[in-house]
């Protein structure tokens, strides 16, 4: 099925980031001052609830980050020596293949069985009438859509929800079993403890959120198999599929940007605060200057330059996907360049405070070198600020992508992103009758991601901020 893996730049970076996160997790689990706050996060109901939601987004994004050239059927390939197409698809595409391939002609409303525009239809008896034609795929299994549609949808919904319930029950049982094994209690006792909310980690909340998410997924899977859950767009592509594909774009911009900006922010911020003097002056002037250039201008300039480069060197790119990917990478880098200043300033201030601490003075009195003092005394003590900043920035960056794509300096127009969806919705909103589902789909997906991320970051900040720690 998979013939040759294609590793795009952003894919590589995503998995690099995942590796870093895992390594950091291992490092943090051995340090009491990092383990404590995280423990507080997972003991918070909002914390675990949002974590479950976020992990679903993450799974989609990761699946969507494994790209390959699909194998073609032998039959289609007579005479060709290559056994693979030039098309690049991801694991996620393969998983939801039906969604990707069932293209209609043009707009259709969510769960509709007919197109959204009238067309000339030739009847079997040769007459031509002007009506809304049936969709090729959406509700194609129905013989009389007008009367059968609603019961069918209800039936499918019920099946989906029941499936979701069953699966979540199974998952819950397995988890309780594992928990029981770990705590040494009997299965029943552990189950009762979970339901009473007597466990340290609020597993009850985890199960409820999980069940809700699973039911939602199975429900939409059932419906999406037979209908277009969120309608289709101008060229008949499934909007639900587009919204799902946009998850990767959003998450990538939210996370990779921080990967780009962190080294600069940490290094320069700490250097400015620690060495003071002319080092501080140079760094301060740099970020003050950078801050006074409107970020959008800088991004527009960079993206336009890249576009010119790409149109001049079109032969360097094997596929559209690679082109779009490079543009995404560039956007991430330029967003990183414009957004490191805030964190840098925070770190400089904190370092200024820390360098006067007695333990830094004591280390100086021992003759410890500057580099070691920074690594051993300063960096671990500003890490919580970095963490809070990264998590708080995430949702802002996801929203920034939407805005930038809206003004056409965001990701490539061929790439699925919420920003592009909103951008195309601009014309759709002006149509009569109005096409609202592209915008609504983008909003629903973006809103739930950003809300979950914001709630989660609140919990993380509460856990890590030393000033808030004593107040509860």
């Amino acid at each position: 099925m998979i013939s040759q893996l294609v590793i795009l730049w952003t894919d590589a970076l995503v998995f690099l980031l995942l590796l870093f996160a895992t390594l950091f997790g291992i490092y943090a689990s051995r340090k009491a001052h990092l383990r404590g706050p995280w423990r507080q996060v997972v003991r918070n109901k909002v914390g675990v609830g949002t974590l479950v939601v976020l992990s679903f987004y993450l799974v989609v994004a990761l699946l969507d980050s494994v790209h390959f050239h699909p194998m073609l059927d032998r039959a289609e390939l007579k005479g060709a020596d290559a056994t693979q197409s030039v098309e690049v698809i991801s694991l996620f595409d393969r998983l939801v293949e039906g969604l990707r391939e069932r293209q209609e002609k043009t707009y259709s409303a969510p769960l509709a069985t007919r197109l959204y525009a009238k067309e000339n239809i030739e009847l079997p008896d040769g007459r031509v009438i002007r009506d809304f034609p049936r969709l090729t795929y959406g509700g194609a299994h129905l013989t009389d859509p007008d009367s059968e549609r609603l019961p069918d949808i209800l039936r499918l919904s019920a099946i989906g929800i029941i499936k979701g319930l069953v699966v979540s029950l199974a998952v819950a049982n397995v988890l309780i079993m594992l928990l029981a094994m770990r705590s040494g209690r009997s299965f029943g006792a552990q189950g009762r403890a979970v339901l009473r909310g007597a466990t340290e980690i609020p597993w009850k909340t985890v199960f409820y959120t999980l069940a809700l998410m699973l039911m939602l997924i199975f429900w939409s899977a059932e419906l999406a198999a037979k209908y277009h859950l969120l309608g289709t767009d101008k060229v008949g592509e499934d909007v639900f599929y587009q919204a799902l594909k946009s998850i990767r774009t959003g998450l990538l911009i939210g996370t990779l940007t921080t990967l780009v900006m962190l080294p600069a922010a940490i290094l320069l911020g700490i250097m400015a605060g620690y060495f003071r003097g002319w080092v501080d002056d140079i760094i301060q002037y740099t970020y003050t200057t950078l801050n006074s250039i409107p970020g959008v201008l800088l991004i527009a300039a960079a993206i336009l330059m890249l576009q010119i480069y790409m149109s001049n060197h079109a032969d360097e790119f094997n596929s559209l996907v690679e082109r779009a990917d490079l543009r995404l990478l560039f956007l991430v880098i330029i967003l990183g360049v414009t957004s490191w200043t805030g964190l840098c300033r925070l770190l400089r201030g904190e370092t200024l405070k820390l360098r006067e601490m007695d333990y830094v003075q004591a280390a100086t009195a021992f003759g410890v070198s500057n580099l070691k003092i920074i690594g051993r005394h300063i960096l671990p003590n500003v890490l919580h600020i970095v963490l809070i900043a990264v998590i708080l920035d995430f949702s802002g960056l996801v929203l920034a992508e939407a805005v930038l794509s809206y003004v056409n300096i965001g990701v490539d127009p061929t790439m699925n992103s919420w920003g592009n969806m909103i951008n195309s919705a601009r014309l759709e909103m002006a149509r009569e009758p109005i096409v609202w589902w592209s915008l609504a789909a983008a909003m629903i997906f973006m809103f739930s991601l950003v809300l979950a991320a914001n709630l989660f970051s609140d919990v993380v900040r509460d856990a890590f901020d030393p000033r808030l720690r004593g107040s509860r």
């Binding site: 009491a32 333990y359 004591a362 009195a365 003759g367 410890v368 671990p380 003590n381």
Partner: protein
């Protein structure tokens, strides 16, 4: 009794929710009569402040009053509606806090802040708050009150701010003034001013004062009656006179014995072992039993009851039931540790005209417009195995001298020679190599250790940087050895600093300094953040180490009693310069410089009735950026003459060991 103003009965205040709340106040009962000063004495964390906050009903959100009554005159404070309580606060009950810097609003003028109190609590003067504010400022002894009215808090000095706080508390003409450690953040000379002011006000207005403090000296100076608080309970109550003469509870006795004084020189100080027990438990035994050296069987089985002793006095101790077994606890100085170290040959450390000036930058181009002369020509010398105490008020440059010698702050002039080698010009590796010979112990044991590092790593850091101690394994062995040396268990190496109490942390800091085998340690107020009983442990440890390893100390402090106990020589510093130095006997017994005289007289003495005359210093220390012309001390000096205004007096030698900078003494 009709003259009882405040009566507190069975007060219990708990902090925090859940299964184990902190029982911060656990059944406290006392009475305060009109016009008296009642002191609540105790170590930090034993519930003194919580008692006061409960009375004001100003507890933090997690705190709540579980039971008890408090009657102010005929009013039951805990039954008042919040509206009525607000009238009592600042009305009949005033409160002043420890930190004058944070108790005033920085963006409002003095007149505004005092006026607010007047408007709320003094209806007669509502329309003329300004003149009432002037009156109040006059009452608290602020010179030129009319001008001060329109100033902001940052324009006032620490002592002045505390006076303004007191003026605000007085605005409602309180019958009871609650003073929560009112002088702890202030210097000795300012403390003397504020305490005298409180006494004076009390005589004039007849208000009662509830004074919360940890300082036995302050208690003996101003209090009429005293109650000792320990682990949320009152354990002893008595008139101040009786309390000082014969403290009844073993804890109180120990407190007195652990005070460093010149009489205990050379001997070891009595220590109270361990620390205050956790208040999250439900006590079934005497709270002090683990730390008491007179404990009996019964002490571990039942909690002692309150036993009345004379008028208004009492004690909570089982020993009261068995007067016969009472051990005589008179002080027996340990004669073993005599001052074996004699005035020795070579000096180990010597500074000549050491100067540390900090430039003041201004404007866009950061032009230097002046200098803060933190240290302005200091000569000191310390012999091996001796202790030089550097005393002075905060801001006089003591700490900067210490850091300047260690090259943590680069001196701008003069020389500092250590073992014959000049330190001031050294940089990079050359300086790094000599770092192991000189170490520093800081004031705040919390801030002086990286909270993200294990204790073992903290101690080993210096050895690692200096490349001593061999392999990681042998270094580890040395760490454990050091921990044992300072009296900590070996498993402490694998814990984080926040798992230790203040005294234990200071021990870790000492172990860290010792790790590189220094010959000279700068002790920068190492005990001022600690309680008296813990201070004794640290001082004992420092003494032992000196005798064992012949380490020299530069002991920076403002605590005269520590000086008299520990130091061999004393240097008194004022505004960046040393005004007098000599051996401890010379300087403390017969101070020559007027500043030294004033400083020593301001220290509250515990043996009351000695007829001490406090030399009242007016005002505060001037800024070291713009020192007064002539002798720096002349604006505050009572003996200043014209000569003093014109030139700085040269240092005059009074004996072999003694020098003083004052025109009173001439060659």
């Amino acid at each position: 009794m009709t003259d009882v103003l405040l009566r507190v009965k069975g007060l219990k205040t708990w902090l925090g929710e859940g299964e184990n709340p902190v029982r911060a106040v656990d059944g406290v009962e006392f009475e305060i009569r009109r016009g008296e000063t009642f002191a609540l004495l105790g170590e930090s964390g034993c519930g003194k402040s919580m008692t006061a906050l409960s009375l004001m009903r100003l507890l933090p959100p997690s705190g709540r009053i579980i039971q008890g009554e408090a009657w102010l005159g005929g009013t039951s404070l805990f039954d008042l509606a919040e509206m009525d309580m607000r009238r009592e606060r600042g009305g009949r009950m005033g409160m002043i806090f420890q930190e004058p810097m944070t108790s005033l609003n920085a963006v409002r003028t003095v007149a505004d802040q005092i006026g607010e109190s007047v408007r709320l609590h003094d209806p007669e003067n509502r329309n003329d708050t300004r003149s009432r504010a002037v009156e109040l400022l006059k009452a608290v002894g602020i010179p030129d009150p009319v001008r001060r009215l329109d100033e902001y808090p940052h324009q006032l000095s620490g002592g002045m701010k505390q006076r303004v706080m007191i003026a605000m508390a007085l605005a409602g003409r309180p019958e009871l003034l609650i003073a929560d450690e009112p002088t702890t953040a202030l210097d000795v000379t300012i403390q003397a001013q504020v305490l005298a002011l409180l006494k004076d006000l009390q005589q004039k207005t007849g208000m009662a004062v509830l004074l919360i403090t940890h300082d036995l000296g302050v208690v003996s100076d101003v209090a009429d009656r005293v109650a000792v608080m320990y682990a949320g309970q009152l354990i002893e109550q008595a008139t101040t006179k009786r309390f000082i003469r014969s403290p009844a509870h073993p804890y109180s006795q120990k407190l007195f014995q652990s005070l460093p004084t010149s009489g205990k020189r050379g001997g070891r100080l009595a220590v109270i072992k361990g620390s205050v027990p956790k208040l999250t438990q439900d006590f079934k035994h005497c709270r002090f039993v683990d730390r008491c050296d007179q404990s009996m069987d019964i002490c571990t089985r039942s909690e002692p009851d309150w036993r009345e002793q004379g008028a208004g006095g009492g004690v909570r101790c089982h020993l009261e039931n068995y007067p016969d077994i009472r051990i005589d606890q008179s002080v027996t100085p340990d004669s073993a540790g005599t001052k074996a170290v004699h005035k020795s040959e070579e000096s180990l450390l010597e500074t000549r005209d050491l100067k540390v000036h900090f430039p003041i930058h201004k404007g866009v181009f950061k032009r230097v417009v002046g200098h803060v002369k933190a240290v302005d020509g200091v000569d000191i010398s310390i012999a091996p195995g001796r202790t030089l105490a550097l005393v002075g008020e905060s801001g006089c440059g003591k700490t900067t001298v210490g850091k300047g010698i260690l090259q943590l702050v680069r001196p701008t002039g003069g020389s500092a020679r250590f073992g014959g080698e000049e330190l001031t010009g050294l940089t990079g590796g050359a300086l790094r190599k000599r770092r192991s010979r000189m170490q520093i112990i800081f004031q705040d044991p919390v801030a002086s250790m990286n909270p993200r590092m294990l204790v073992g790593d903290i101690i080993a850091e210096g050895m690692q940087a200096q490349n001593i101690g061999g392999s990681a394994v042998s270094r580890r062995g040395r760490v454990l050895e050091l921990l044992e040396h300072v009296g900590l268990p070996a498993d402490a190496a694998d814990l984080y600093p926040n798992e230790f109490s203040g005294g234990q942390r200071q021990r870790i800091c000492i172990a860290r300094a010792l790790a590189v085998e220094p010959r000279f340690i700068v002790c920068d107020e190492p005990t001022s953040a600690l309680d008296v009983s813990v201070q004794a442990q640290i001082l004992n440890l420092l003494m032992d180490l000196q005798q064992e390893h012949r380490i020299s100390y530069l002991f920076i402090t403002h605590n005269i009693s520590v000086v008299s106990y520990l130091a061999h020589e004393v240097a008194v510093m004022y505004l960046g310069r040393i005004v007098e130095r000599g051996t401890v006997e010379e300087v403390l017994d017969s101070p020559a410089h007027p500043y030294t005289q004033a400083l020593l007289s301001a220290v509250p003495a515990i043996d009351s009735g000695s007829g001490r005359e406090v030399i009242r210093l007016e005002g505060d220390m001037p800024s070291p950026a713009t020192p007064p012309s002539g002798c720096h001390f002349h604006p505050r000096c009572l003996q200043a003459s014209d000569e003093c205004r014109e030139a700085y007096p040269v240092s005059v030698s009074l004996s072999d060991t003694r020098r003083v900078s004052c025109f009173k003494y001439r060659r």
